[in-house]
Amino acid sequence: MIFDFDTMYVVLLALLLSAAVWTVMTSHLLKSAIGLAVTSVVLTLILFLLKASLAGVFELSVCAGLITVVFISAISLTKPVAEAEAREMKMKRLKRFIFLPILLLIAGWLLRNRMIHLTHPVQAAADAATTVQQALWSGRRFDLVGQILIILAGIFGIIVLFKTKDCVDDKEKKQ
């Protein structure tokens, strides 16, 4: 069997889709977090194959690594629901995805019939930004100001929602 690049893309895209669907459909939080990590790892492989190595590094370190750790830490703080309740929730969840196969079929049909034309996809991206550094510092410097503002807002979020809460808890304990 000849395993060329096109076949590899198809296999990886199928894996990506399967992992993403599993992430969304599973009712088990931990499995869902792991599914998300697997999705990110497969996406990283695709990005490396597309020669977008910096994007791949970010995807692997932040999405597959950091975010998974944050999710698992948060899940470890939760309690499991009762078995009967879990079964009921699972049925409700499955009903929400009843249209998923239809959407997949429509997307497949559109692609098969070339209804969606991606004119110059990879080349445009490669031409637009030779490196991430250049893209950020030369092209998107104004957006970096926005990023700084978001980080500052996040810091205030932690201060407002967590730090002062500890003070209130301490006061309550003293009382």
Binding site: L118, A124, A128, G146, A153, F156, L161
Partner: protein, 475 residues
């Protein structure tokens, strides 16, 4: 010049958080107030050439050419006024110095985000600054760490995440096809290749995302909870300007810059606008929570702005921009009054209130001004902006939409009369004998906003030529 409206608030937050925290804690509020006043004065005083001219500092330092036109100036002024009022209400409702410090910092960050969004000249910058305002808003809603507030924040975050996914997907698709995110490039691509299915899909995703951010029906699930559960000062900011900038202004900018005026897009916008006007007005009629009723009223009024956008003629867009500014003013006033009534009486339930005007005459009077303007009663500002939108819709041949908009105005009058009767008029409710008027921190902005509402209404002959007609240049 315009980039300073982002850089100066950012610098202010950084300076406020230097190690001299205890000293800065006292000054934070005043620095926030000064920033707002300076922004308002600059918009009023500086000629258009200063705003529109090339700024070497911005080009060299940030490699950006801000897109500032007449509509942007209207937005900068609205942001300055509403943020100023928000800070005064925060001073009235938040007694703890540390909490006020954190609140002020978050409000300044939200202000910087909104200013950045208004001057964005490409789709990705618009998205980045939209998220700045959104993240600051999430925290401001949950600021008091109450259960309802967390619920409201959670709904807002979930719906915002959906909107974000849609907007980012649209940006990705646009980038794939056009290779650029600049409004100028997208504008020319839309003119030549508007029928491309990928571009149509991305335009639909973009509109969907911004409909959610605007809280329009049927994408409004988060809005009543977020507005009513948030602390009073946050409600003022959210209803007054945040939703308008991150949703409505972004929508106007995207639709006009990208020429989304095809028959399908126009029908979609007009239907969503009309549904919002009518359904939200009916929903407002059935509310007993003061702030929740105002939240539904906001959805209905935003529907009028979107109706003007959907009609798409220069006159309709001028009317939409005028109604956007008017709504920022009178809805802020109504939320300031709601904050005062809640703080003084301890409740927002309109069924337990009554006769409040006897004890709080200034709040009662300014509330009447705001509700008459919202309902479109002449000669207040709301009458003129609604009239312009309806006349423009009629002239463009959208007779049914104009007719529905007129009928919905009667509904607006009905739910506001009901609110006024239940809260401010009639016999004083039991338990409110010791009720007192709010202090100057809320009375001054209430009087100021009422004066703007009356003044704009009376100055319409002058405003029409100098303020409204130049807005058509955005087309």
């Amino acid at each position: 010049m315009p980039v300073l409206l982002v850089l100066v608030p950012l610098a202010a937050v950084l300076i406020l958080n230097l190690p001299l925290h205890r000293i800065m804690c006292r000054f934070a509020f005043w620095i926030g107030v000064i920033l707002c006043l300076v922004q308002a004065l600059l918009v009023i005083q500086l000629p258009n050439a200063v705003w529109n001219g090339p700024c070497q500092v911005a080009i060299r330092l940030l490699r950006v050419t801000p897109a500032v036109d007449n509509l942007s100036l209207v937005m900068f002024l609205s942001i300055a006024i509403v943020t100023f009022v928000t800070l005064l209400v925060a001073r009235y409702t938040i007694s703890d110095c540390g909490k006020l410090f954190n609140f002020t910092n978050l409000v300044i960050l939200a202000m910087a985000g909104m200013n950045g969004l208004v001057m964005a000249n490409d789709l990705f910058s618009l998205y980045v600054f939209l998220e700045v305002a959104a993240v600051a808003s999430f925290i401001l809603i949950a600021f008091d760490r109450e259960k309802d507030a967390f619920e409201g924040t959670f709904k807002y975050i979930v719906m915002s995440a959906v909107a974000t996914a849609m907007i980012l997907s649209a940006i990705g698709l646009m980038m794939t096809v056009t290779g650029s995110m600049s409004f100028n490039v997208l504008s020319s691509v839309m003119k030549t290749d508007g029928g491309n299915p990928v571009i149509l899909l991305s335009a639909a995703l973009l509109l969907g995302g911004l409909f959610i951010k605007s809280g329009l029906i049927p994408f409004h699930g988060w809005l009543p909870d977020a507005y009513s559960a948030a602390p009073s000062a946050t409600s003022v900011l959210l209803a007054g300007i945040v939703t308008k900038t991150t949703g409505v202004y972004a929508l106007i900018r995207v639709v006009t810059m990208m020429h989304l005026h095809s028959h399908t897009m126009q029908t979609l916008i007009l239907v969503v606008a009309t549904l919002s006007i009518v359904i939200a007005a009916f929903a407002a009629l059935g509310q007993s929570d003061f702030k929740r009723m105002l939240a539904y009223s906001s959805i209905s009024q935003v529907g009028y702005i979107i109706l003007g956008l959907g009609v798409g003629t220069p006159l309709a867009l001028a009317g939409a921009a005028f109604h956007l500014f008017n709504h920022a003013i009178f809805k802020t006033l109504l939320f300031v009054n709601a904050a005062t009534v809640e703080k003084q009486s301890g409740t927002r339930n309109m069924d337990t209130l009554g006769g409040v005007s006897d004890k709080m005459p200034v709040t009662g009077f300014t509330s009447v001004i705001a509700f008459l303007s919202t309902a479109g009663i002449p000669p207040l500002s709301g009458f003129w902006s609604k009239l312009i939108i309806i006349v423009a819709a009629w002239k463009a041949g959208f007779h049914w939409y104009a007719f529905i908009a007129i009928l919905a105005s009667l509904l607006t009058l009905a739910y506001f009369l009901s609110m006024q009767r239940r809260v401010f008029f009639g016999k004083l409710a039991s338990g409110l004998e010791d009720l007192k008027e709010g202090n100057p921190w809320v009375l001054i902005p209430a009087c100021m906003l009422a004066a703007i509402t009356i003044g704009l209404g009376l100055c319409i002959p002058w405003l029409f030529g100098s303020f409204l007609l130049p807005i058509r240049s955005i087309l």
